[in-house]
Assembly symmetry: C2
Homo-oligomer: 200 residues x 2
């Protein structure tokens, strides 16, 4: 038996939550969710609230986190979680481990645009333009996260990763704009429709 206790075969999500718990002394499940929304979301994923609760319960079972406050018996009372030495060791081991896991970009607007030949060029333009606006707002959110993190010590890695994520989302905006420029060149007869009267 090796000494990696309960740390076997956890999904990346579990390590993400464990990772969040490394930045503060203790957090409620609710707090973890807020951290995920503010930071993790931009380069990994934002778990559902209920998922965070379930994941923390599992991590507690495995001894990777421990809770202060109400015991499991009393429902609906505040519970504050803290990472254990075992949890810290597990997440550190995971973080140092090289991976072949490919980066996934799940981009439902790009997927729609990919099917552009099925719809009016104008509809494609609309959804991509909307996406550009949304992606710009996302970049502003990242900037706010960076601004907050920069003021804190011991956040140099998170800040560096948020900057990395920022570049990716900037490229998304640039790519979307280049796509729109392409669209204008390849469908000039359709796109100006809003300005010019329809041909008889």
């Amino acid at each position: 038996m090796s000494d990696d206790a309960g740390a076997r075969d956890l999904p990346a999500t579990a390590y993400a939550i464990l990772g969040i718990l490394c930045f503060e002394r203790e957090l409620t499940a609710y707090d973890v969710k807020k951290w995920a929304d503010a930071s993790l979301r931009h380069f990994y994923w934002a778990p559902a609230t209920s998922h965070v609760y379930r994941e923390l319960a599992r991590l507690e079972d495995r001894g990777l986190v421990e809770a202060r406050g109400a015991s499991t018996a009393e429902p609906r009372t505040k519970r504050v979680y803290r990472i254990t030495p075992g949890g810290r060791a597990a997440v550190a081991r995971w973080a140092a481990e090289p991976t072949e896991e490919p980066t996934v970009v799940k981009h439902s607007v790009a997927l729609r645009a990919w099917l552009g030949h099925l719809v009016l060029a104008d509809d494609v333009r609309i959804i991509v333009e909307q996406h550009v606006a949304q992606a710009r707002r996302r970049i502003e959110e990242i900037d706010r996260s960076i601004a907050v993190a920069e003021t804190l010590p011991a956040m140099t890695y998170p800040v560096a990763v948020l900057r990395w994520a920022r570049r990716i989302h900037e490229a998304d905006v640039e790519g979307a704009e280049a796509f729109l420029a392409d669209l204008v060149r390849s469908a000039p007869a359709i796109l100006p429709a809003a300005d010019s009267p329809p041909a008889p």
Copy 2:
């Protein structure tokens, strides 16, 4: 009753598969998987093979695709799928529909780098450098997909979207390199360890 037959509440994945079937007259499940690996993977996702089979069966149930070849009764014989008019209408409707669904970048290397403070700076450097190499290979794959698609007519949208995806993955490489440069600046004492002898 509206006439949107069996097209209710399908996940984006189902539309992705339906979309692939719009590009060719007919395809086997195996072919669909290959298309997904070559194209979809770079801006959306690559489904497991078994998933493609299950999804095609569901789409057939709903009348959005139809199969030629062996009937459902005979197992393990070749089945070729084709999109139906209803399927084409459903995917066209979906593609034109604006969405607020945020783009997800699921980047397990960035997640590890985010936790850099838990491990040796050298370990962080190694996994990020490895990722850069992998991301560069990914860009080459995208280039090959673009080269193939460019020779085909009616692939202008897929080509434009692949270029968009290419920008995103290029930004990933640039972001990773900037991260590494940051790392050298903030941890100069640790990083050159490989070249210089350890201090006594």
